[in-house]
């Protein structure tokens, strides 16, 4: 007779999709992604700064670059990365001085990071475009 009390080995399933993270976890992973994006974008920013400060024609050339769709897209992504990193960073600094460390307030502030950074990106983005 088979042993009916022995537990069958159940498969273990971890859902590691970032979409199932709580909002503070999402802010955290996007803080990393945006930071890495800004790090990689340094060269493009320096290139534009170099060109725009070199001469009158260099300034015009930098402005010309930024009119191209691919550069504009890059600028928008950088803008979002900067704003998200900034907002998440300010939230971090506030958490460090014990502001909003409760579970509910931490969730609300994490949600606010997404709302504020995306709204500012849209607002500034529309004006830059």
């Amino acid at each position: 007779m088979p042993d009916l009390t022995a537990k069958k080995k159940r498969p273990v399933w971890y859902n590691l999709s970032p979409l199932n993270l709580p909002v503070p976890g999402l802010v955290s992973i996007f803080h990393r992604i945006s930071g890495l994006a800004l790090f990689l974008g340094l060269l493009a920013f320096l290139f534009l700064l170099d060109s725009s400060l070199s001469s009158e024609s260099g300034f015009a050339r930098a402005a010309e670059y930024l009119r191209a769709p691919i550069w504009k897209l890059g600028l928008m992504v950088s803008l979002w990365a900067f704003l998200h990193h900034l907002c998440a960073g300010v939230r971090h600094l506030l958490l460090d001085i014990d502001v909003g460390v409760g579970l509910e307030s931490a969730r609300r502030s994490a949600f606010a990071v997404f709302v504020v950074s995306l709204a500012l990106t849209a607002f500034i983005g529309v004006r830059l475009w």
Partner: protein, 114 residues
Amino acid sequence: MVNRVIVGAHYGLKDWLAQRVTALVMIAYTVIFLVALGRGTVSYASWKALFAQEWMRFATLLFVASVLIHAWVGVRNVWMDYIKHTGLRLALQIVTILWLVGCAGWAMQILWRL
């Protein structure tokens, strides 16, 4: 009895603090930059005049130094968390340092040739 407190190398705390201090410097610079830039369109003359000022160069120098330290701590942490292969991690960390120091050097060259 040897009354010894067991402690680490302290670099964790130093990095934690450096990350916060450099963040505050960069926030301050962002505000200063936006105020100095003012409203309206930016011309080559006003753009160049902005960075030709000695105090603005000094502020930008502090900003660049902050980016250098902040990005080093942050990117190094990312490599430490995700790259398990020691040799690859070391290579990426070296590339990160060279990239950041190179960028900082270029920024200084741009500002001080004005």
